[in-house]
Amino acid sequence: MINKWRRQMKQWVGKQFNLPEDVILELPRITMIGQIHAYIENHQGLITFTEKEIVLKMHNGFIKIKGENFVLKTMLKEEIIVEGKIFDVQYID
């Protein structure tokens, strides 16, 4: 009950103050620095991690990142930093 009420409150505040969508709609935010870094927020879990491929679960669907020499620099709740050489970012429903 309180959670629901809080979500509604959040949406209303977001609209009123013109906040970015990733905050309100729980969409992933991916920041990339060239090919070498990808900074992914709001993920829901790690599905696959190999040297050449990372699959992350999102709110609705998955993200697949392809490349080589992947290392997870940081793994926190809702935040992952990937280092390596990134070739491809795909959204899979």
């Binding site: 991690f49 040297e51 290392v71 793994m75 709740k77």
Partner: protein, 409 residues
Amino acid sequence: MKFKQGLFWKGYITVYVEGDRPENFLNRCIEADIPIWDVKRINEKKMELKLHLKHVSKVKKIRRRLGYKLTFKAKHGLPFLLAHLKFRKPLVIGVALCLFFIFLLSNIVMQVKIVGVTPETEYKIQQRLDHYGLKEGIFKFSLRNIDDMERNITNELKDVMWIGIEEKGTTYIVHGVEKSLVHLDDNQKPQHLIASKEGEITQMYVESGQPMVKVNQHVNKGDILVSGIIGQTENEEEDKDNNKNENVNQQQVHAKGKVFAETWYTTETIVPLKYKHDTLTGDKDQQYKMKFGKVKVPIWDIFEPDYENKYEEVEEKPLYFLNFKLPFTIEKKTIHESERIKGERTEKEAVQEGIEQAKRELKKHIGFDSEIIDVKILQQSKENDKVKLNLYFIVKENIAVAQPINQGD
């Protein structure tokens, strides 16, 4: 990335995770709020990752639930170093003792050197230094103020003109300058003795030279008392005896002697009828504190003495490690018990006190072989609870001072 700060201090480990789908293990860790970094895939069933030491127990719980195999690859950071040192206790104790002794020895006076003086004076200075506590083997911070020591020793030793104490690490170098003894030349030079003050002569001791005055004679300042030219009076006889050469009997000598005379001083003193002053009872308490910045930690004598009135002296001494000044200082606080003396005097007592005061004052000005013969009160008045005295002193003192005879050539 706050969790990556202070890694060395907190300690972290590198582990291998083996099992089916190690990603699953990672997800569990994330859910349990365990930060993980530098994750590498080794092969299908194996991953390498790093995590904080403090999370190891949590991770082990997860492992037990999911059935993965954990292998510790490497341990990093201070906690592991310390744990390792536990097995090398003798070494640790040795190093600690070594540092402690270096620290101790850095704060001890190792050598006191006295330079620039004759062995005789050196011995005297040595004795004074011992008295003031500057000797080999004591702690530097227990020393008194060096400036005071310099001044006191200079005052106490008559044949020393100046003393400087230089601190060089654990060595103290005491520079002394001796008063040069009276030049032998001066002893031979012809001189008169003249009166330094007006007075009436009471006694004369003449070692050499021709006395020019007699006992009970009144002399003015600058009068010749003992002449360094002897044979002068014979000039009168010269007429009678022309054969004698004029210059033969005229001789210049070093006049020497003491001429005591009664001299007079008038002084004015004011003595209050009510008085109030603080004196120290002699009871004292010493406290030592270690000071770091503004934080003070008591080392010795924590309790404040229960003195009603007190007078505090605070001295701060730096601590050394080898030649480096440490940020710690030792604060030495001496608390003296003081006493406030209040009282009233009658006019009679005030007069007595005034005379005593004036005598003490006068004795500072006249020589050590002088004596006060008589005191007379010239004037006595009382106003505003104060007694004002005009005193007249009769003093017997040596008024002879040397005056070189100008030889002209």
